[in-house]
Amino acid sequence: MAINVKDLDRDFKYQVMREPGGEYLSRCFACGTCTASCPVREIDERFNPRKIIRMTLLGMKKEVIESEFVWLCTACYMCQERCPQDVKITDLMNAIKNVAVKEGFIHPSYTAQVEALKKFSRLYEVGEFENKKRQKIGLPALDTETKKEFVQVIDDYVSGLLKEGEE
């Protein structure tokens, strides 16, 4: 696929670098240590950290944020440990995901997690049923209340982003 300069978004890299974790993007000299260290890349070639970094630096915004591969990072930090330029690649992948979400592209698995957190303040519900099971094996019952603090955080920081995505 040829890259057309007219399709590139020159602001994209700055947008990523403004996100927490994206600050060191421009340090990359494309050695590929990240890709060689990546356990996901070994299984699925679509996930290639060096390529994602290159695409981001070039301004291939649409191709990066609309694709599934940015969500394939397991956050194992092996690339980050081995990067000779200290790009902090795992943190960078997170920054790219945050940009994708701001642009309306959140992976549905995260939408589901946000919904669960808003409902239960936990990823999994702890209700009467779970507490009975816990007590039966000698564990204390847990507080089942949905905490207003957690609802508020999601409303203040996340809900707005999800609505934009639906439009």
């Binding site: 974790g21 980050q80 995901k97 979400v101 990823l123 099971k133 094996i137 564990l139 507080d143």
Partner: protein, 292 residues
């Protein structure tokens, strides 16, 4: 030794054998675990969505512990790394702490930044120490061979764990396994990720990652894997049958939580350590250490 006990989301629902064994072991060792009823999610799932939102979520929990003057211990690698990293971020960026406290003030909370967070296995390794732990071993697990699985977020990123263990060639959990009298089996790719972080994104890739390590451990003929993270256990144990079917393999590898084998060696029965809740039954241990 006293810690606020942070359970997170997965442990209390999907790893009750871990929680049970950790509570029992801690009590016998004299490590006081204080339950904080208001604790909720650590904020990890929100990090990929919105970094600042995740910082606030973490800080709510940190502030609750700080209010009681307690440091935090957790059983989950993801909870550990999230709270440790957020703590560092709030220290390094006063403007983040200011924003977070602006949000916390809505609920009458404030975070000053004084709480330390440690995984329970690290508490055992550092605060208690292998030598002192050995004094509690009354029934060494001689003849058993276990493969330690550290999980990524127990040792990486080294920016927050440098003082603890090597990010690529860790030793701490192997030493802890040896405390029980069992052999810590050495094997390649000990640092390999379980794939749990992307199970909900792309299951086949996640399972392929777990399959890789299960294959390596099988070749070493270990009696089981030792985990210290509920999600790693879900991958290697909860999904093992699915992996066997997908890849036409026969593993049958029990996956135990470290606190379970430590407890057995300290004299607890397999019933007390919740071994019957393990999905792949560690039959030899269950028979040898049953109280019935």
């Amino acid at each position: 030794m006293k810690y606020a006990f942070f359970l997170g989301c997965t442990v209390p629902v999907r790893a009750q054998n871990y929680e049970l064994s950790a509570r029992r072991v801690a009590e016998k060792l004299g490590i006081e675990l204080v339950d904080v009823p208001e604790f909720r999610c650590c904020g990890y799932p929100i990090k990929s969505v919105n970094f600042k939102g995740h910082l606030v979520m973490t800080a709510i929990n940190l502030a609750l512990a700080e209010r009681q003057g307690l440091n935090i211990t957790t059983l989950c690698n993801a909870c550990s790394v999230t709270m440790i990293e957020s703590n560092e971020e709030l220290k390094a960026h006063p403007e983040f702490l200011e924003e977070v406290n602006g949000e916390l003030s809505k609920f009458g909370l404030e975070y000053k930044g004084t709480v330390k967070v440690k995984h329970f296995a690290r508490v055992l390794y550092e605060d208690y120490g292998p030598e002192k732990l050995k004094e509690h071993i009354i029934r060494p697990l001689e003849g058993y061979r276990f493969a330690s699985h550290y999980g990524c977020h127990f040792i990486r990123p080294s920016s927050v764990y440098a003082e603890f263990d090597d990010p690529q060639y860790p030793v701490s959990l192997d030493r802890l396994v040896e405390v029980t009298g069992a052999e810590a089996v050495d094997y390649p790719e000990k640092q390999l990720c379980c794939g749990g972080g992307i199970l909900g994104i792309k299951e086949d890739v996640a399972l392929a990652l777990s399959n890789k390590k299960l294959g390596i451990v099988k070749e070493k003929n270990a009696d089981g894997m030792i985990s210290i993270c509920p999600f790693c256990s879900i991958m290697y144990e909860g999904n093992q049958k699915k992996i066997e079917k997908t890849y036409e393999k026969e593993y049958g590898i029990p996956v135990l939580y470290y606190t379970q084998i430590l407890g057995l060696a300290m004299g607890f029965s397999s019933e007390e350590m919740g071994l019957k809740l393990n999905r792949i039954k560690p039959r030899a241990l269950m028979e040898a250490f049953s109280n019935g």
